[in-house]
Symmetry: C2
Subunit: 339 residues, 2 copies
DNA sequence: TTGTAAGCGTTATCAC
DNA sequence: GTGATAACGCTTACAA
């Protein structure tokens, strides 16, 4: 079972190395006889072409990169990321691409540069919007390596992107609370600098306005998506805002922290207080009580991102597309009629 | 800013291509003058050697693979996996290795074969024990590509591995319950086929025995690590076992499901029932109530696995090592004295 | 210390 | 339809 290469296969099949290459790449112009001779050798010896050599010759690696921020422990554990990644991964594999994962933080410009400048490394890159800096995006836009963004950044209309309809999702979630009779509804949001936050805030505010409720500034908090922030913000609001009876959290993790703060203060959900989350993470079903949340198709986002990227790799001049996926409200046990 | 290659750099620096190569690889026997000429060209043009070509020449890719089962949604979201992966990833990057992630399920023998047979692909592989089949392990052992296992499989003593001391961890957790005065203590375990489960069960049983408590068969459940299983098992036990006052769950996710079942049945934790988990996931801190759990150094496990692998890559004949990491009991709010 | 030249295992371009 | 042969960009004897 020694190591074969294309020449040895050629010799065994009594053809030239070019014929072997043609057979392996499904190129035309090879006789049935030659083809079958080659194939039987390939199968007998279980020969596989060396992909490194192939990459060198074709300057395409069939590897795509995923660039993701290094988040704190808490966000890492929330499952959003893994689900997204799985969507990307499976779609890539289906298309014969391998995936290389890189975490990234702002000090890692070097890694990034190497990524791009060693060009042959990657056929394309998927960037997860959060934490990706202007610099990063700019660098990619300047190079000609295809890239797609998960999330959306209005500054780079030329970069294809995949996102949920954040406005619609936040609107649905808030409106659900409104329909239940709530009037004093807090809104907890994540990362300040991302357009996604802006959209979610607008959805929240519009749902309120359309119901004749005036959004109040001190009922709104913007911080991070962590459980920690959810907990601390709720803690504070419990002390300050006696009237508040419900809250819309812009992530399930935020909601998880919120639920804990409520529990610690003996406020029962949903009897005394309603909570709705955002994401529809697998764990949200097991929160106490099971969380009402607007689910976004996280796996689908990843899958779509991979699809767009591969499309762009295969046809660099393809029209730039910005996909927007639909969220869905999942009503569970953390919300109830205002009594 | 056109694309450079080693020859162009050589020309610009007025040296031969070998000198450039030597400089870039820190080989000796280069005059200071030549070195500095090369370096200044490299910096001016920001030249980076093409890693594919380099791989072809050296037949080492500086890529390591992580082989992981495709779990159901629930387990994916539990954060264990991500933390482990992060540990692996960061240690690899620190050593100049890139990471390629592959999910794997039993039908994917093809992918696996390609992985190995295209040999030049990967310098080494880290296998996550769960879900890795005999076939997989055997295949790797037969090839000469270095591999390390996260978890432990006694059938392959020749494969280096990293694990926590599962016995010790389970013992500590159970003993904690015993010390609080509990006598009727359930034990919920994960995957049947893994040695880890056996060790955790023994730790649980020994802690009981040493306290003069007889472990009962119907107080023990073995299934999966999912929240779902935790929930259903607890649900059943609530109906069947009136005496039970505490449970040791062999994962935090199992505990999360357990907590929900208890909540749904109006059994308050820890006043009427104590729960201890296993893993110390970031989310365990935000469960309701915050979970008492034996934390395993998940990130550290990944880090250690990467260390062992890289060591083995650099020295194929290194002694086989089986690392065993220490767990730590985190007492939070889900356990209390039996009243 | 430096340069020449032979690989590494493919694909791709041409004659035939 | 087939087979030389030249890339692809690098490392590494070996010779100078």
């Amino acid at each position: 079972m020694e190591k074969l290469n294309i020449d040895k296969v050629a010799k065994l099949a009594h053809v030239s190395r070019s014929v072997v290459s043609r057979v392996l790449n499904n190129h035309p112009n090879v006789s049935d006889e030659a083809r079958s001779r080659v194939m039987s050798v390939v199968e007998e010896y279980n020969y596989r072409p060396n992909s490194v050599a192939r990459s060198l010759a074709t300057s395409s690696t069939y590897q795509i990169g995923v660039l993701s921020g290094i988040f704190g422990e808490e966000s890492l554990g929330n499952g959003y990321w893994t689900l997204l990644y799985l969507g990307i991964f499976e779609e890539c594999i289906r298309n014969g691409y391998y995936v290389r994962l890189s975490f990234y933080n702002s000090e890692m410009k070097k890694e990034l540069h190497d990524l791009i400048l060693n060009e042959h490394h990657l056929d394309g890159v998927i960037c997860l919007n959060e934490e990706v800096t202007e610099f990063t995006l700019q660098t990619f836009e300047d190079s000609d390596i295809p890239i797609v963004l998960v999330g959306h950044n209005p500054k780079y209309p030329e970069i294809p992107s995949v996102d949920v309809d954040n406005y619609d999702a936040a609107y649905k979630a808030t409106d659900h609370l409104v329909q239940l009779g709530h009037k004093d509804i807090g809104g907890m949001f994540g990362d300040q600098n991302v357009q996604e936050t802006e959209h979610r805030m607008r959805g929240y505010q519009d749902a309120l306005c359309n119901a004749g409720i005036e959004p109040k500034d001190d009922y709104t908090a913007v911080g991070s998506y962590s459980q920690h922030d959810g907990h601390d913000t709720m803690e504070e609001w419990i002390k300050k805002h006696d009237d508040m009876t419900a809250v819309f959290c812009a992530s399930d993790t935020l909601a998880m922290g919120t639920l804990l703060a409520l529990f610690e203060n003996d406020i029962s959900v949903p009897e005394q207080f309603s909570v709705v989350g955002f994401d529809g993470l697998p764990i949200s079903k097991y929160m106490i009580p099971p969380l009402t949340t607007v689910a976004q198709p996280t796996y689908g986002k990843g899958e779509k991102a991979a699809k767009l990227l591969i499309e762009k790799i295969k046809n660099k001049d393809a029209r730039v597309r910005h996909a927007s996926l639909k969220p869905e409200l999942l009503v569970r046990k953390s919300t109830a009629k205002l009594s």
